[in-house]
């Protein structure tokens, strides 16, 4: 019991302000108002929270003015109320601390550090002598300069959000920035685009009759452009999406075709002529045993039913039998083979300097 009383008196001794006008008073008032605000409801709660913030800021500013922790002539303690003011001004709007609060922070702290010289004990205003004024100006300006650097940093982050593929680039030539990589590497989004192009390509011409591939080949470059636009739509839309361009190299090989999917990037980055990424694919004909006759009949029957359903007419048989059904008796007799296409793709290449030279076959 005695121990508890001793402890309480110790706490009171610490907490109790030496006089009525002291920084501790402000913080105690702030704390009390906050406790009240916990039980308040509605509009009153907001007002009390506001008052609590206000007294907290007054208390900390007072603290910073009264006992600055000086480190080589610069008061450190002004950074606390400076930060509180910034959170109060900009953070209360949304729960997240916006970048502007961080940018203003050094300036606010500088202002508080300077303010210290303008206040005399007893809360009187005074103008310091010119010699000190000059020093204060330099102190304040250097704080503002730190704010400028922070703002510059946010500028760069903004660029990287607009053009995320820049992160994969090489920053070693820059005189402004350094790249920091911890345990991971950034990838160019071109690789993502190429991979989704591959899967889209497979849905179009993988495991399809060879004649479809031939048909697709005639409009290959246009088809690739469409593929690319579709692939871009699957990505989160940022400004850089418009900068990715597509190309292809379509060459016949001894079996089937070699298709190189290309994504090209130009305009920004360490390479003046831009770069491109490449993914090589092979489209080869594979002969499969054609389905046996009953199976084939079943499929034709199914197709016909589908056909009929789609026209919504029981009597009209459009197009007659499909071509497969109207085959020669010889084909029906022997199990023949059907050539299907098969698409095989390799991995995405590294960034290749310059723009690709597209060889027209």
């Amino acid at each position: 019991m005695k121990k508890i009383i001793n402890f309480l008196t110790f706490i009171i001794k610490i907490v109790k302000p030496p006089q009525f006008f002291a920084w501790k008073t402000g913080i105690i008032i702030s704390f009390l108002i906050w406790v009240i605000a916990l039980f308040a409801v509605g509009e009153l709660k907001n007002i009390l929270a506001f008052l609590s913030w206000l007294f907290l800021i007054i208390g900390t500013v007072w603290f910073a003015v009264e006992n600055p922790l000086m480190v080589s002539g610069i008061s450190i303690s002004s950074w606390l109320p400076g930060g509180l003011i910034c959170i109060f001004m900009f953070g209360s709007l949304s729960n997240q601390i916006p970048s502007i609060a961080l940018v203003i922070w050094p300036t606010a702290s500088g202002a508080i550090a300077v303010m210290r010289e303008f206040v005399q004990p007893g809360a009187k205003f005074k103008i310091p002598p010119p010699r000190v004024c000059q020093k204060l100006l330099i102190l304040f300006l250097s704080h503002v300069l730190i704010s400028c650097w922070l703002q510059f940093n946010f500028f760069i982050q903004n660029w990287l959000q607009r053009y995320p593929s820049l992160l994969a680039d090489d920053f070693s030539k820059s005189t402004f920035v350094v790249k920091i990589e911890v345990l991971s590497k950034a990838n160019s989004r071109g690789a993502v685009i190429l991979n989704s192009m591959e899967s889209l390509l497979k849905t179009q011409i993988n495991e399809k009759p060879w004649s479809e591939v031939e048909k697709w080949r005639i409009n290959a470059s246009k088809n690739i452009q469409i593929l690319g636009e579709q692939a871009k739509k699957q990505l989160p839309s940022v400004e850089e999406n418009a900068m990715w361009k597509f190309g292809e190299v379509f060459l016949p090989s001894n079996s089937g075709y070699n298709l190189e999917l290309l994504v090209k990037w130009q305009g920004l980055g360490s390479m003046p002529d831009g770069y491109h990424l490449k993914k090589s694919c092979k489209i080869i004909p594979v002969s499969r045993l054609a389905p046996t006759r009953p199976e084939r009949l079943r499929t034709t029957f199914r197709e016909q039913r589908k056909d009929i359903r789609s026209t919504k007419s029981r009597f009209v048989r459009r197009g007659g039998f499909p071509a497969t059904a109207a085959s020669t008796p010889a084909e029906l007799a022997a199990p023949s083979s059907v050539t299907l296409s098969q698409v095989q793709c390799g991995p995405v290449s590294d960034r290749i300097n310059g723009q690709p030279k597209i060889a027209k076959p």
Binding site: L137, Q157, W159, F171, F176, K179, V182, L183, A186, L268
Partner: protein, 186 residues
């Protein structure tokens, strides 16, 4: 886990350039304007800090307003240290543009520093030094009327001030230019 780009080099080089500029300008101001070393260093420091900050502010306000192509050029320069040359543009024009740009920045800094110095001197007049300066001149031409002399002194001080600030800036900016070229080469 974390990939980011921080402008640490910019901060480092800015500190270096500020130190160069402040030391050179303080030395020249001290020589030309007959001030104490402490005062001249303080002047040089506050002038340079102010012009740097105003330069940043101009950059922050102008960059979003620039046409997109220029913005990209600037991003290229800041992040990758080169201007993406459009194939049509000859190199001479680019160098000419760069030179013009440098001159513009130099003039801008000069104007800002002139105005700032004027304000500083009004704010806390360096009366002691001015009187000291005036005495020297009044000794040399003591025959004239008082009012005329006063005007002459003011005029002399004014010219001396702008001239010394100009010379100080030329020296410091040239040095900074040389250093930045060396940095680019290395």
């Amino acid at each position: 886990m974390l990939v980011t780009v921080l402008p640490l080099r910019a901060v480092m080089f800015q500190l270096l350039f500020l130190l160069i500029a402040i030391s050179v300008e303080a030395f020249i101001i001290q020589q030309k304007m007959i001030l104490t070393r402490r005062v001249s260093i303080q002047y040089a420091a506050s002038l340079n800090l102010l012009s740097t900050i105003l330069g940043w502010l101009i950059f922050f306000f102008l960059h979003p307003l620039l046409p997109l192509d220029w913005q990209k050029q600037l991003i290229n320069f800041i992040l990758f240290g080169h201007f993406a040359t459009k194939s049509g543009l000859p190199l001479v024009i680019i160098f000419f543009d760069l030179g013009l740009f440098t001159l513009l920045i130099f003039l801008l800094i000069l104007v800002i520093e002139f105005i700032a110095l004027e304000l500083l001197m009004n704010l806390k007049s360096i009366s002691k030094d001015a009187q000291f300066n005036g005495q020297i001149i009044s000794q040399s031409d003591s025959g004239e009327k008082k009012s005329v002399r006063r005007e002459n002194i003011d005029h002399y001080l004014e010219r001396n001030k702008s001239k010394s600030l100009f010379i100080a800036n030329v020296y410091s900016q040239t040095l900074i230019l040389i250093v930045s070229f060396l940095i680019q080469k290395i």
